[in-house]
């Protein structure tokens, strides 16, 4: 089956399930993706009427992790009396992971959420495509067979899909939500653990400490500290982020490298064992910084140390929020 036909199947199943859930009053609204106004985009949409389900699309351009809109930081979807609405959410694997994590951290009530599980076939890596096309405007993008075809005014360029999807999608082991039939309809699976070799992290690991430092400095140098990565992250939901606190000031607010590094360092700490590997942070970065390398390394550390992968279950809290007498603590220094 080609990507093109897979997409059609996924799209049809999303629409059918959404229609069914709405007509049977199992949910009040559907959170999904609709066609964007630009060739390499999609827009998150809230569907309130059965007749509107055809606005839902599946086009491999779903960069925002829509579990973001469930997080407590966002205005909650309520009826006129202020009661929470029941939400059907189009859930690829990483959306499902975020929903589970938010539930495990007691930030959402799963009784109000129904996942419409799909077997995700990845997102197009638009920053690489943009980079390769350069100073030309893309007027149309379509998936034909197994190719991404970008068209401009008098040019056309073909990108093989398997090479031009996000790096995270290439190594993704959780393509559909890990959930039971209670919380998910459609494509779901019950995963307890996943097998991941982290082969993509090997290149970074092979670097010396100095080379790693150079790599991180070089990668983060363009950062403007706009915090788009934080805003897009489905599991960043603090009411007041540490960077915004000014009593006391936790860290400098300039765009000089030390401040930039501190932000990304603390962000990494906060996401250890919590990142759901959706890649939204990198996709939304206005200056195109690839944060996926950092988040993959985080995932690897947590997997190897605690045999934990975030978002596989709505019950298990991440290791950093838990305490176990069995944790290895070889880094603790003895007093004497």
């Amino acid at each position: 089956m080609t990507i093109e036909t897979e997409n059609k199947d996924i799209e049809n199943s999303i629409r059918d399930t959404a229609k069914k859930l709405l007509s049977e009053k199992q949910v009040d609204v559907i959170l999904g993706y609709s066609k964007g106004t630009l060739p390499l985009s999609s827009t998150p949409i809230i569907i309130r009427k059965e007749d509107d389900v055809d606005k839902l699309v599946w086009n491999n351009l779903t960069y925002i992790n829509i579990a973001r809109y469930l997080a407590p930081l966002m205005p909650q979807l309520c009826d006129n009396e202020g009661n929470p609405l029941k939400i059907g959410i189009v859930a690829k694997g990483c959306v499902g992971r975020a929903v589970n994590l938010l539930a495990a951290e007691k930030q959402i009530n799963l009784e109000n959420v129904k996942m419409i599980g799909i077997n995700c076939n990845g997102n197009v890596n638009r920053s690489v495509i943009d980079l390769e096309i350069g100073e030309k405007e893309i007027l149309d993008v379509l998936i034909s067979g197994d190719d991404i075809i970008a068209k401009g005014k008098d040019w056309e360029q073909i990108f093989p899909y398997d090479q031009y999807i996000n790096e995270l999608c290439k190594v993704c082991q959780v393509k559909s939500p890990s959930a039971t039939a209670d919380t998910c309809v459609g494509e779901c699976q019950e995963l307890e653990s996943i097998h991941d070799e982290f082969a993509d992290v090997a290149e970074y690991d092979a670097k010396s400490d100095d080379e790693k430092w150079e790599y991180i400095k070089d990668a983060l140098e363009p950062c403007t500290l706009c915090y788009s990565c934080r805003q897009a992250c489905p599991v960043c939901y603090c009411n007041l982020c540490f960077v915004d606190q000014n009593l006391p000031v936790w860290f400098g607010k300039t765009t000089q490298l030390p401040d930039v590094i501190v932000f990304h360092l603390i962000r990494a700490f906060h996401l250890a064992g919590r990142c759901v590997a959706c890649g939204a942070c990198s996709s939304v970065c206005p200056v195109g910084i690839d944060l996926n390398k950092i988040t993959r390394k985080l995932e690897e550390i947590v997997k190897k140390r605690f045999d934990f992968t975030s978002g596989l279950s709505a019950e298990t809290v991440p290791p950093m929020m838990d305490f176990s007498m069995h944790d290895a603590e070889e880094f603790m220094l003895e007093e004497d």
Binding site: M74, P286, V287
Partner: protein, 348 residues
């Protein structure tokens, strides 16, 4: 002949001549993004570009700027003011929309003369713009709907038109005319060159298909502050503020003090801020007049299309389309404005 010709292989010569007098800023490609940077060698200049990702406002209003530094000595404070404000700045290759944004900046930074931002105004006064016509506007460009034009020469000192293998050079302001005169090695343009330039200008203008009805928008915004459309408009926004960071007319900044108490010194810095951040409008009392996403999304539109016209009789948008291209949720300002256009009059 008023118009001159600059051959494409003469950019280096032009740069060398200008660099002796000015700090030259021009578009460069950094990690795939076009931005205006200080040029150290002419090979870095990229004039064949659509538009810069980060607007050239960053040259005169950098994201982070030290306003002054100070040292403390017992009870005395010694303030060191900026020493670099007399340097002459030249921005090469700026597009008409961005050049116009500097005119809008002047309103904010001089506030009808009530208050003057000396740092910005001084830099602006020392700035010369060698702009360039926009041969290929993008589908997201709508400058012609907000009073602009891809070949608007008004705010430039010198204007270049890319004729393919060479540039047509025109002095616009008195300063620009003088500059062109001093570049005596430029060859004369022919009638055919001038004709080609006006054809390109016409083609560029016609190629802009995105439009808004600014008059209706301004009128509708006056009476629809509480309209349900704002909820709809803000629903997909994730509040990242990229739209305002990359907006050539957004001027908001925050001021922070960095103190180094061990060395008895410090500095006052301004950094870009965004009204899309929840903290932006948080008051000391704890009250936040723009506590919700709906209010913040509305403010962005109101500021550009209602408050700005009210205060300065100008639209606060230059139609560059950067916010459309950058929005991760694809919350397209054209879609938003078209929704505002369609709001029916109350009771109508």
């Amino acid at each position: 002949m008023e118009q001159k010709i600059l051959k494409k292989d003469e950019i280096e010569k032009l740069y060398n001549e200008l660099a002796s007098e000015y700090n030259v800023y021009a578009p460069v490609k950094k990690k795939g993004n076009i931005s205006f940077e200080k040029i150290e060698k002419s090979e870095d200049i990229v004039l064949d570009y659509l538009n810069s990702k980060i607007p050239p406002k960053s040259v005169l209003f950098p994201q982070m700027e030290v306003l002054f530094e100070y040292t403390l000595d017992e009870k005395d404070v010694e303030i060191t003011d900026r020493q670099d404000l007399d340097q002459k700045i030249l921005i090469l290759g700026i597009r008409p929309c961005d050049a116009y944004s500097f005119e809008l900046f002047a309103n904010f930074f001089s506030s009808h003369g009530n208050w003057k931002d000396e740092i910005y105004l001084k830099k602006k006064e020392n700035t010369t713009l060698i702009g360039m016509g926009c041969n290929t506007p993008r589908t997201t460009c709508f400058c012609t709907s907000v009073g602009g034009n891809p070949f608007n020469k008004e705010n430039m000192d010198v204007f270049l038109t890319d004729l393919g293998d060479k540039y047509l050079v025109e002095g616009i302001s008195d300063k620009g005319k003088e500059m062109v005169k001093n570049l005596s090695w430029l060859s004369d343009a022919t009638d055919a060159d001038v004709k080609k330039s006006s054809e390109l200008a016409k083609q560029a203008e016609e190629s802009i298909t995105a439009t808004i009805d600014s008059e209706t928008i301004v009128k509708n915004l006056e009476t629809n502050f509480e309209h349900p459309v704002w909820r709809e408009i803000s629903e997909s926004c994730i509040g990242c503020g990229s739209c305002s960071y990359l907006c050539p007319t957004c001027t908001c900044f925050d001021v922070i003090d960095e103190t180094d108490k061990y060395n008895n010194r410090g500095r006052r810095i301004r950094i870009w801020d965004t009204c899309q951040s929840c903290l932006y409008s948080l008051e000391t009392s704890g009250h936040n007049p723009r506590d919700t996403k709906i209010q913040r999304c509305r403010n962005r539109i109101m500021h550009k299309f209602s408050y700005y016209p009210e205060n300065y009789e100008l639209l606060g948008c230059v139609g560059c389309g950067r916010c459309i291209a950058v929005c991760p949720a694809n919350n397209d300002i054209l879609t938003i404005l078209h929704k505002v256009e369609k709001i029916e009059e109350k009771g109508g």
